[in-house]
Symmetry: C2
Subunit: 195 residues, 2 copies
């Protein structure tokens, strides 16, 4: 959250920010902000506040996004293809190597600069290339099995869009984005505002 | 979360579930589950447990997803187009009416069954059609301004994919999906597992 605000301020060419102002933006108290900033290794300057770009770089190191991450996308549906061409702020730090699918009618077809590979070729690919993150944009029914195969080939991080809770050994990092659930939550909020 | 488990069990043709089993799936205690189920209006049966499809319907009413929701998508980038053709479980309950964009090179082109409309036409469209949810898949720089215009035209629910916190009056319901941040979070988890 801090990181989002800092990037926004930087894009507005703001160079310094006080803990009071940052607290206001984030909806926190100034003392909470000072405590967090000090935990992040950020140092405020008397009178001018925190140097924004320095603080951003601290946070990037802390988040590990100062490093390159190689990704593969498994599931060449609409969402998988969108993510392959999605340009987040850190586009260069998270680069997609390949897209895989198990649908014979998709394998070999091109999506932008990618030629869709068969999931049968996953193990061979992972034995040759280092992959940090597997992005799972496939149906719930296949997600667990594919995740296990990818895990067994050495990948330890999973960005999961399948509507299922993956069960993997402790050393795997998993972040799930449940789009269905977020839409259901919105529906629930709407209903309760109406009522 | 319960809803996800219930749908999964239903698809596996399971008809009843005990609070103990549901607690196991959800990583909760059986008494928590019984409390939640009773709050949802679900009634367990001695010996057989909760009737799954009945419980699912209860939850659907509670979440408001037993009703139709008309959506518009604003921002015809990769993500916007993917969401227009995304088929969540409740596809029929959340239907996309139109996709809007402000890029002249996109306006008038077709994406699947949609012809992209100009954002200039938003107010005219919203004065004629009832729209429940605006899906914002546009850059952070435009999101707030467009959200305000859509709000002023009567839309009260926002599914926001722009990396920005929308500021709208209290009667607006907002659910944000910050894809950048979820990827940054994954990067952070990876780093801390390594360390």
């Amino acid at each position: 959250m801090y990181y989002r605000y800092l990037k926004q301020l930087e894009s507005e060419h703001v160079h310094f920010i006080s803990s009071t102002k940052l607290a206001e933006l984030a909806g926190l108290t100034a003392s909470q902000v000072r405590q967090d900033m000090s935990a992040f290794g950020g140092e405020g300057r008397q009178g001018s506040g925190y140097p924004i770009s320095e603080l951003r770089k601290h946070l990037e190191r802390l988040l590990g996004i100062d490093k390159q991450h190689a990704m593969i996308i498994i599931g060449a549906g609409n969402l998988g293809c969108a993510l392959a061409h999605y340009h987040p702020f850190h586009q260069k730090r998270f680069s997609t190597l390949e897209i895989f699918d198990n649908d014979p009618s998709k394998i070999g077809t091109t999506i932008g600069s990618f030629t869709i590979k068969s999931t049968d070729a996953l193990e061979a690919f992972l034995s040759q290339r280092h992959v940090d993150i597997a992005v799972l944009t496939l149906p719930a029914t296949h997600a667990q099995q594919i995740a296990e195969r990818v895990y067994n080939s050495g990948v330890r991080a999973f960005w999961n869009f399948a509507p299922v809770d993956l069960k993997l050994p402790q050393d795997a990092s998993i972040v799930s984005v449940h789009l269905d659930e977020s839409l259901e939550m919105l529906s629930y909020y709407m209903l309760n505002k109406d009522g």
